[in-house]
Symmetry: C2
Subunit: 589 residues, 2 copies
Amino acid sequence: MNYQAPLRDMRFVLHELFDVTGHCQQLDVELDRDTLDGILEEAARFTGGVIAPLNRNSDEQGCQLLGDAVTTPDGFRQAYQQYVDNGWASMTGPLAFGGQGLPQMASACFHEMLMSASLAFRIYSGLTESAVLAVHRHGSAALKEAYLNKMVSGEWTGTMCLTEPQAGTDLALLRTRAQPEADGSYRISGNKIFISGGEQDLTENIIHLVLARLPDAPPGVKGISLFLVPKILPEGQRNTLSCGALEHKMGIKGTSTCVMNFDDARGWLVGEANQGLACMFTMMNDARFQVGLQGLGIAEAAFQGGLAYARERLQSRSLTGAVVPEQAADPIIVHPDVRRMLLTQKALVEGCRMFATYTARQLDLEQAGGNDHPAAKRRAALLIPIVKAFFTDVGQEVASLGVQLYGGHGYIREWGMEQLMRDSRITQLYEGTNGIQALDLIRRKLLGDGGAELNALIDEFTEIVEAARGQTALHEMADTISQRLAEWRALGRSVIDACQRDPQEIGAVSVDFLAYSAYVLLGGFWLQAALRAQQALGQGSAEAAFYQAKLHTADFYWRRLLPRASAHRDAVIGGANCLMALPASDFSF
Amino acid sequence: MNYQAPLRDMRFVLHELFDVTGHCQQLDVELDRDTLDGILEEAARFTGGVIAPLNRNSDEQGCQLLGDAVTTPDGFRQAYQQYVDNGWASMTGPLAFGGQGLPQMASACFHEMLMSASLAFRIYSGLTESAVLAVHRHGSAALKEAYLNKMVSGEWTGTMCLTEPQAGTDLALLRTRAQPEADGSYRISGNKIFISGGEQDLTENIIHLVLARLPDAPPGVKGISLFLVPKILPEGQRNTLSCGALEHKMGIKGTSTCVMNFDDARGWLVGEANQGLACMFTMMNDARFQVGLQGLGIAEAAFQGGLAYARERLQSRSLTGAVVPEQAADPIIVHPDVRRMLLTQKALVEGCRMFATYTARQLDLEQAGGNDHPAAKRRAALLIPIVKAFFTDVGQEVASLGVQLYGGHGYIREWGMEQLMRDSRITQLYEGTNGIQALDLIRRKLLGDGGAELNALIDEFTEIVEAARGQTALHEMADTISQRLAEWRALGRSVIDACQRDPQEIGAVSVDFLAYSAYVLLGGFWLQAALRAQQALGQGSAEAAFYQAKLHTADFYWRRLLPRASAHRDAVIGGANCLMALPASDFSF
């Protein structure tokens, strides 16, 4: 599949909606508009020209385990080398360890491009960035000194070793053990599963971050510690850890998903003893944001694939008569139902891109400011579970629409659309299933502050509505969004009340409240986009077609997708009783 | 994956809701309750014990093409032989040609079981049944004599050769040619794609039904004729047709999906010249009904898989405190969000089973009565596109929920859940994409009679509502369904008006109007089930838990799934303008 980064839309979001250069100034990062646009153009060439062409084969070929060595698909090694050599790996890494220190708001578009080009390829470097964050924030000076430079550059990759067969969502059930040694190191023993990039042939060393229990650790999640366990020890010997098997998966076949066996492997504590979960949590926001971008990236790829086919596939005539009478049939983009699918893809993809960029800003402010930006921290905390769950649901829906647009051909592997569906399906599961994201939204975020941050967010969007009312053409949409914002506020209040009365309501309303919130938020972003488009048209922009397309897509969104919020609202109101009344034994007879 | 046919629910639907034995009497088919229940129990043993165990391997192994011969996965040959030997193949076949002549209403549950056990296996025999129908209704006495007995018994299989690379939805673009010979036969030449079972090693002969054009045929769909083209000619020689390639697909890998090349292959006309499309249409209802059952069957399998895992997987504690304190964690079925997923599966699966059985009755009456049952014919015509599209959408949703219930394990092939997602995805595409079903619903059915049959259907369900009002416990649900029925009637009216004003509205409203209709209909069926359950409980049934479960599931349905109708209603109202306004060139920049 061809992939061309949607540079015009990225510039719209970065510069016209969210002022990325002003944001960089605020963060004391030197990055002017031309430089950033230049980076993005180069990134578009790299992802479209080097990475995307590897994606189809990587699915067919997959990874191979021979002995305890893993080979990645053809071309991954060379592409990864280029990725490192050209500095793409270090884009967001800390300056002190050779990174370029770019804010997320500037890098998110590049990361989205990587996800579009090949999710399987991107996972290796994405996890390394997460590992860098953990070591940078919690590791000792000695550990940072020994590992960070090569991890930031991408010369070494990193992994996150959390899951065990009996411990997925519930890390309290973790069994991997760590035994302290006299020299301050530890001996780690246990079996981990679903370890992405646990073994590969891209780099000479792999730095595993492993959750394990110390001998005297309290039970449950308060007795989990984080360890850095390298494949190759500093002295050059191979550590006693290995990949025991590769999982056979639905998709992302170019990513090695490993069963990892640690057999008295040597490692070092990261952060405080028994604080492993807290160490993981500090980077959770970033990791979940990245998974959200995976959903967005795949959705963009599926939209491009669907659109290309809809323009070239000739089949049947328009309902109002032949549009291209000189050909045997009309291109299927003339059919309203095909347009419904394409516009659903477009409105969701571009909506999520605005949402992602807005969220990246909060993450940057939080990371830069620490406690100086408590508002950004709260805002990011509220938005991240929505980004992770909603964007990945969108990824799956938009990829499935891509398949549907191709008809029977969508089911055939060579076209690449069904691969996008298979690849994207993992994103709804890992880094906390989407159900877990929704529980987090209700329990930690909404109930955590009694709805204060939700209301602050609604206030902010209410200001956008007021500004939009100034444009006659946007009156109707602004009214609808305004009603939804008021409804959202009231629904949040009633959810809090219900959850305080009955804890089962937390899990009963969670997924639908998250989806409801996402659709209303996207409505807010689309109103903002429409407002900007109106302004640009009012100023006589030379790009009238681009801004008109924004207005049309906003119009489609609020008329045809925003109504989904009603179904989720009513399901929330449906409550817990209808879920809990049926005895577990009576689900089938 | 284990599969156990849901016999209790099938008996509920067949006997308690729709009186299958009375139906058989009406059709002059001798089939008493014990005999039918005995057949279903035997069918449950066969599908659960013989077919289901082959399904996982069939996905890994797939079909192989060596020369022009295709081998099916291990075990398919033996299982197919057993299928034929035990008379399963001939269940619905015409009596005159060795069939058992069972009505669809009695056979649908068996066919659902086959789909649950292995869609890939079922496709071979399902297409044979479609081919039997076509030959039986349209073939000459000589063709019937020569082919039907062995096709009905399953000794030979049949295929449907419609699609060509340039002609999928749009059969007007068909290029395959048929040249008349002096002896009354024809020479067929052309290339067909996506031919399920085009070549296989299950039977010694394969009977292809091929759409092609006669030399003097008018252009477009009025110039298409149907031909019977056997792999082995009556004289015993091999015909000049062959499988040129197997498609590499997302799923149903145990089904051979063939590129078929016809090179002056000898064939015979079925029905009148240039009436090929009409011949196909007479069996379209049956074929589309079968695809609907595929969605239902896969959904049932995914529900069973999800439920089994939710009962045994221990992870985290209930929100209200430990339910099984003696174990390390509670089974995940205690969590409200897990129950939301399971109940969504259950309510959709059992709802579609009622819907399927109701529709099968209409098909039987239509087939038995011909013009004596114009009401059944109209009713079936209205319902079939909904069954095909909605059930297969349900199949995909429920299979995806199955994956989600397993968390990360859902993504791993050995658990079988991701296979169900991949297998079910084809059902939304073939036998007319779901978008085409929706166009059929609006154009041929709704506009065809100005909404008369829709209103007749709504009247029928209104009677169920009135009956349900007699039960105090059902008041609230009955009121909701009653409002929805009135809303449906009004929406149907406004859709007809809109489509008459602007033909683009046909394609603009179609998919959402179909989904809206399906959710309201399912509400009607659930009200009917609840009414029956109330009556049984009132009569002091010994199976109180079963009937209570029906009431709880009905309660879940109308509180938490029926609200989806609102989103579809509003999208219908959203209309065509927001789809058509954006120029095709401006979908991306």
